[in-house]
Symmetry: C2
DNA sequence: TCTAATAATACTCAGTCTGAGTATAAGTGC
DNA sequence: GCACTTATACTCAGACTGAGTATTATTAGA
């Protein structure tokens, strides 16, 4: 066992939004728990990026478009038998229409139920999490600092809740041992797809990183459109943003911002929607030249 | 030569602001060019973070406070004689007062002169860069896409120039071969500190990554205060933000935003400044609990 | 001591943006 | 034709922003 040997694993957080849920693509992992598609960097891989795409193709049968490097995890004491394992995590986005049926897409809010504020602040936070953190803080090294941290990341209400801090919330809960108390995955034989609140290894942490990053990017780069078909109605767009941001939005104001901001343009075509037909819009690429930081507005993250 | 062998290097971009210039700490590198403090991950390092701090301590004699992982560069074909070299880059911030005299702090705007818009958009951009890019675009695979990209990253004027896109600008210039045409470093014997427009290896690219990240973070997290002594005048704070953002700011409005936003509080003490004495302020930590994304405001990045 | 220069701080004001509505239009299913 | 659904247009008060003017407290030097 050579203590110097280092292996690099590439982990992909592939996100799509279907049926109003942001979802992450998983593959069967250890103990039947869902895992992220991942694989080792091999000598023939010219770049980390190409290696990642190769593994995603092999394991999930998907060609990803938008890809962004997230974070490198190196402090894991995970023994590989031959030394250290570093893991470089990537975020990838795929549009709704290109989902393959066979893939196992898990709703993000199954793993992070405290992140979904579309129907208001989840009762879970103030009923269970906040009291548990308060109880735990007594045992912490520095109770005051711990309580401050808890208040910063969970806020006191939705006006102080910062959607972007997904990772900080996850880590606080993890350190406090609260995640272990959550309903565990029921381990099942391969082939089944049980609902799971957890993931293999530290993959849930990686997903938290990805989710926070995506929420942040939403506000200043037009990444949402990577998750949509080429034409869409404004309500489709709104539901998508709501699903990712975890916040309800005011329909009329959303439309104003997105149209006045030059993010989209009408196609003249209309879609049947169950009510009055909605015009189909497309992403207006020129906005990239016109505005320095085009995205679906900051105000909603802090509502 | 084992093709499987992988080494991990940790590279630190340590930033401070002195005399109105954001500066990066460098050490002597190959060919007498300035380089980032860096070193290899060793088996005894428990985390990437501790390894980084160790190297910074050894090479620069500095204990860094704020540290944030930036990016992992793996596509370098840089041969190490024994295989692949991955490099995990970190951003660290140190306050003005703790600078050690012996260290070699290089102004960031020496490496990226097109980034400093404090006296308006640099003539360099429209006189040299834009025409050169236009000329180059003819030879590009897809001229239209290339020109769009050039316009997006450099904008047409300062209302469309996005300060955060430091890396994108650097990469565009690099790919276009424009950086090689810039005045080269005059290589000198070790010991001297020549002004240099370039850095060893791909370190300039890493610094560009760090600079862009810092500019972004400025607007939604109170990172500026990591770069200041514990008390400071509002003009000091303003000059610091201007130096980093590369933009001039309206004094009265800056004061209003920073005070009304609850980011700082007066100490009652005053400092001699050459004019009317200025009150000394300190960072108001409570703002973290009160506001979800406290920072020195977004509007100035898009002025 | 008086004056100019420097910097800090207070206040104003018009224009824009935001949040929260109301009102109306154009489809569907029955 | 009616109830229902969804889309879209428009309004309005309040907050925030950009760009000033005005006043105050110092220091340097005539």
């Amino acid at each position: 066992m050579d203590p110097q040997a280092i292996e690099i694993s590439l982990d992909a957080v592939i996100i799509a939004v279907t049926d109003g849920s942001p979802r992450v693509l998983t593959v069967p992992g250890a103990d039947g728990l869902p895992a992220l598609p991942s694989g080792l960097l091999e000598p023939q891989d010219r770049t980390l990026d190409t290696a990642l795409r190769r593994w995603v193709r092999e394991q999930a049968g998907i060609e990803v478009g938008y890809v962004e490097q997230l974070y490198t995890f190196g402090d894991r004491e995970r023994a590989t038998g031959s030394g250290r394992l570093l893991s470089v995590a990537y975020l990838a986005l795929v549009a709704e229409e290109s989902l393959s049926e066979s893939a196992d897409w898990r709703p993000l809010y199954d793993f992070f139920p405290w992140e979904d504020h579309r129907d208001g602040r989840p009762a879970l936070i103030d009923d269970q999490i906040v009291p548990a953190l308060a109880a735990f803080s007594a045992r912490a090294d520095d109770p005051a600092a711990y309580e401050e941290r808890a208040q910063i990341v969970f806020g006191t209400d939705d006006s102080t809740f910062d959607g972007v801090r997904v990772l900080e919330r996850y880590e606080l809960l993890y350190e406090s041992g609260l995640l272990e108390k959550s309903p565990q995955a029921t381990r099942v034989s391969p082939g089944e797809r049980p609902p799971s609140k957890t993931m293999a290894l530290d993959h849930r942490r990686i997903v938290a990183t990805a989710f926070g990053r995506l929420r942040g990017k939403l506000t200043y780069r037009p990444v949402v459109f990577e998750l949509l078909p080429s034409t869409f109605t404004l309500l489709q767009l709104q539901r998508l943003v709501e699903a990712l941001a975890g916040t309800p939005l005011h329909k009329q104001n959303f439309r104003r911002l997105v149209e006045a901001g030059g993010l989209v343009e009408g196609t003249g075509e209309h879609a049947r929607t169950g009510g009055r037909p909605a015009e189909l819009f497309r992403f207006r690429r020129e906005v990239l030249r016109e505005r320095p930081r085009p995205g679906v507005g900051s105000p909603w993250i802090r509502p």
